[in-house]
């Protein structure tokens, strides 16, 4: 089992629904977020390229945040999901410093929080909140170890990229381009 998220930048409209859905699903305090949207504009009027994408923790296979965590609060569970156990976390911030994507934040209650791939929903057989709300259906989620899963097939058939691959973290959120 290796969970991955695939996001189609050709369809994402940058509406931020995924951000709000995550907020209400996961009680993310107002003013913080586990996912966010970036916009990249390239070119000169009228020859312009625009890319909108939803970003979050990449659940890296080579996760520096887990390696640098002194307490083991940051850990990897089945499927490659990187999680933080709130009451093992001392809030040292090492993992935040170590993440090339700035995917983590300090929860106002002290511990560090981030995207969980909606672990609690997966356990119930549901898709992550952001994936299930996206109005353009541009987000896909599934098991990369299964060659016939939607995500595997998309990655097989379409051009894609990951963010900051040069950071060497082996991210598992993929962007179709």
């Amino acid at each position: 089992m290796r969970y991955a998220m695939v996001i189609d930048t050709l369809k994402c409209v940058g509406c931020s629904d995924c951000v709000v859905a995550c907020q209400t699903e996961n009680d993310v305090p107002i003013g913080y977020c586990r996912d966010w949207i970036t916009e990249t504009v390239d070119g000169t009027y009228p020859n312009i390229l625009l890319e909108l994408k939803s970003e979050r923790c990449n659940h890296c296979a080579n996760a520096p945040c887990v390696r640098c965590c002194p307490t083991g609060a940051s850990h990897i569970v089945e499927g490659g999901i990187v999680l933080v156990t709130a009451e093992e976390c001392i809030g040292c911030g090492a993992c935040i410093e170590s993440c090339p994507y700035d995917a983590r934040y300090q929860h106002p209650d002290g511990y560090v929080d981030k995207c969980t791939f909606c672990h609690h929903r997966l356990q119930k057989g549901q898709l992550p909140a952001c994936v299930s709300v996206c109005p353009t259906k541009c987000m896909y989620f599934g098991d990369l170890d299964n060659p016939n899963s939607e995500v595997s097939l998309l990655l097989k058939n379409r051009k894609h990229k990951t963010l900051a691959p040069e950071a060497g973290t082996d991210p598992h959120v993929f962007y179709l381009i």
Binding site: V13, T85, E87, S132, C134, P135
Partner: protein
């Protein structure tokens, strides 16, 4: 590495997989309950689902409101069976929880009083506020007639008040969704196809092969199922053509983007017709069978070559031809989208006509991948005595505009401002669910009218700008706290959806149905409100529709079979359009009879003078107009608007990213607040762009106050559509000030 005990617990809990297992396993070890809550917070919650439909915009997606054990609304999720949302709300609908939670909400009725010479509000009881309203209504009715009380409304509260007004004898009713929004296209399509476009638009986007968006910025305009279907169209490899002077999100998803010079769309549309006809690409069979006026049209557009249009629109002839051929190639599965907010330049009905005619030429109306024949369920009216016949109403106010089909807000304003030739003076206003100050152009006139009324009631959920002008402010509870009318909208298949309260009204707020009923009773209109709770009305209606409130509470949405026939025209089907000729009218005798151009013509519109830029505006995908800017869930996503400026302009004016600037329009109106510059290639050099809805100036909106600029306050000039009275808003020009013009004055 030491395997800590806690980790062991976690794994074993995972192993058991169950919700109960994980909580109890944690409990066995007697952990701090506060922490326990942290670990299992998302897992253990027992949610209750309540059926509702969304009120954050007017797409009315059916949804479930989830409340936890403490009866707090935690999240809202789309109803899977609903054709408006297919289980997925848009960001605003998902953030609808904030409408309920916003601690800035109106909390009690307020009555305007004077304390120490200063006007202010005092809190009042509902009885006092409603008694006051009823007594004012009575006096105005006695002296001026019930018709002199106008209702300006939008959204769900509107229908309850409309009932009250009609029962009371006033049909002086209007909403901004007509003359500031959809009016021109309804008239334009009505004149052509004999049918309104309506909402949701009957566009078969999911099956289209070619989608043409004229300004319509789907993706930023988040009308839900439309966004979803456009995404399906992308998946299906449909050709998307976007005509927009700005590189909109939709433009970025398009096969062809035509960066048109603003205000020249009719020229482009005419040249497209020219190409289709001259190159014989139009749908001949369809046109022959269903349309009239083709020859006149052909003769009319003969002169409008792409070369001619190039000089006007700046779009290269080759591009125009390429796009026209792509449309024809895909036809009839081609949609030239009617747009929605179409009150642009005052010739909007004609532009909508041109769009309709183009669709007619391609044969898309009534064909798969084009426009489907919509259908809706008629919800039976709860029995009440017949309404009295008012002596005058919105019809009379809009007389000047022969094809106006709904009340025109700006005409109500005109009729409120005292003048010599006033035939139908308006003396009082009830405003419900519309923030006229940030909604209507020519703000000065709106305020002049407000100053002229004897009495004004505002029913709102939030202390929006408009509430500050009221004599009585009534706090409505949010859509999550009330019953409302049954939603029945046109779609591929008819459906109904219910809105039931997920929680009790917060603070001392009340639903609009209750407010209407209470006022009605005080006016002796009990017979019209023959129920204790609106629940009874819905229950009665649902029973008539073959279901029940109990069932609807469980399913939220009920879909029905179509009864009006197939979605699309059958091969060679005889079909009568609801136009005078029974045909699609390329040539409109109706228009000709009233002295308007029977076939659209291009007219030149003013352009910005030196140092001025056209004020362009549009939707931010995560906000609805001015209503969500203060929403605690949505405001952090975008808490202020920015001024999009082309890099060339930035260079000339020496503007830097994030620099604060002020705007001054052609009528020397200054923006109240400043706005940060966004230097971007996405906007043309002759325009600036901003999201509509920002720049709130009511300090009670703690998150929204002073954030960004209100486009509305800079729209002081309108070009009125002579056909239906729509107010063209896009003809305003602004200059950019880098120094604070208010430095020496109090804001």
């Amino acid at each position: 590495m030491i395997a800590s005990r806690r980790k062991f617990i976690k794994i074993s809990a995972l192993g058991l997989g169950g919700i109960l297992a994980s909580t109890s396993a944690l409990n066995i070890f007697g952990k701090n309950s506060y922490l326990n809550e942290k670990v299992v917070k998302n897992i253990s919650k027992n949610f209750k689902k309540t059926a509702t439909y969304c009120e954050v915009c007017f797409w009315k997606c059916a949804a479930w409101a989830y409340t936890n054990e403490k009866n707090e609304i935690k999240k809202i999720i789309g109803n899977d069976d609903d054709t408006h949302c297919n289980g997925r709300l848009c960001p605003r609908g998902t953030g609808g929880v904030g409408m309920y939670h916003d601690e800035d909400r109106l909390k009690t009725p307020l009555i305007r009083t004077t304390i120490n010479g200063e006007e202010t509000y005092r809190e009042a009881s509902w009885d006092e506020a409603l008694d006051l309203i009823a007594s004012k209504f009575k006096t105005i009715k006695e002296t001026h007639g019930a018709e002199a009380i106008a209702l300006l409304k939008h959204g769900s509260p509107g229908s309850h008040l409309e009932h009250l007004f009609k029962a009371f004898g006033s049909d002086t009713i209007a909403e901004p969704a007509y003359a500031q929004c959809r009016g021109p296209r309804e008239t334009g399509f009505g004149l052509t196809f004999g049918s309104w476009v309506g909402s949701p638009e009957p566009t078969d986007i999911r099956d289209t092969k070619c989608l043409v968006l004229i300004g319509s910025h789907i993706g930023e305009n988040m009308h839900n199922s439309q966004v979803q279907e456009m995404s399906d169209a992308i998946d299906n490899g449909a050709t998307i053509i976007t005509v927009d002077p700005r590189f909109s999100t939709a433009a970025s998803k398009s096969t062809h983007w035509l960066p048109i010079k603003p205000a020249t769309d009719i020229a482009l549309l005419l040249s497209w017709m020219h190409v289709l006809i001259e190159e014989e690409l139009y749908n001949k069979k369809y046109v022959e069978k269903y349309a009239m006026g083709f020859d006149e049209l052909k003769a009319h557009v003969k002169q409008f070559t792409p070369e001619w249009a190039y000089g006007i629109t700046t779009i290269k002839p080759a591009e125009i031809r390429k796009a026209a051929r792509a449309m024809a190639n895909a036809a009839p599965a081609t949609i030239i989208h009617p747009g929605r907010h179409v009150t642009w330049y005052g010739d909007d009905t004609q532009r909508s006509r041109a769009i309709a005619i183009l669709n007619g030429l391609l044969g898309s109306w009534g064909n798969r991948g084009g426009f489907y024949f919509k259908e809706k369920i008629k919800v039976p009216t709860y029995p009440h005595p017949a309404y009295p016949e008012p002596k005058w109403g919105w019809h009379n106010l809009g007389e000047q505009y022969p094809f106006a089909e709904m009340g025109i807000t700006s005409e109500i304003i005109k009729a409120t401002i005292p003048s010599d030739d006033q035939k139908h003076p308006i003396k009082a206003w009830v405003v419900a669910g519309t923030n006229l100050i940030n909604t209507l152009p020519e703000r000065e006139k709106t305020i002049e009218a407000i100053n002229a009324v004897d009495f004004m009631v505002v029913i709102d959920t939030m202390p929006m700008e408009i509430t500050g002008y009221a004599d009585v402010v009534l706090p409505e509870c949010t859509y999550l706290e009330r019953y409302d009318g049954i939603r029945s909208a046109t779609n591929r298949t008819p459906s109904i959806a219910v809105r039931t309260p997920a929680v009790k009204p917060k603070y001392d707020s009340k639903p609009a149905w209750w407010i209407s009923k209470e006022i009605g009773q005080r006016l002796g209109l009990e017979a019209y409100f023959n129920y204790n709770d609106f629940e009874e009305v819905i229950e009665w209606q649902l029973n008539k529709l073959g279901t029940s409130l109990d069932e609807m509470k469980k399913i939220g949405v009920k879909n029905f079979e179509r009864t009006s026939g197939p979605l699309f025209l059958e091969e060679d089907q005889e079909y009568e359009f609801a136009t005078p000729s029974g045909k699609i009218e390329f040539y409109s005798q109706q228009l000709a009879n009233q002295g308007f151009d029977p076939i659209p013509v291009y007219t030149h519109h003013p352009e910005p003078s030196q140092g001025f830029y056209r004020l362009n505006y549009g939707r931010s995908p995560m906000h609805t107009f001015s209503r969500t800017i203060n929403n605690p869930n949505l405001s952090p996503l975008k808490d202020e608007n920015t001024l999009w400026v082309n890099p060339k302009v930035a260079r000339i004016l020496d503007l830097k990213k994030n620099q604060e600037v002020w705007l001054k329009n052609q009528d020397n109106i200054l923006s109240t607040f400043s706005i940060k510059v966004r230097v971007t290639e996405r906007v043309r050099w002759d325009s600036v762009y901003m999201y509509h809805g920002f720049g709130h100036n009511n300090e009670k909106l703690t998150r929204a106050f002073g954030k960004g600029i209100s486009d509305t306050e800079l729209i002081s000039k309108v070009v009125v559509d002579p056909i239906m009275g729509g107010t063209g808003l896009r003809g305003n020009f602004v200059s950019i000030l880098t120094e604070n013009p208010h430095k020496n004055t109090e804001i």
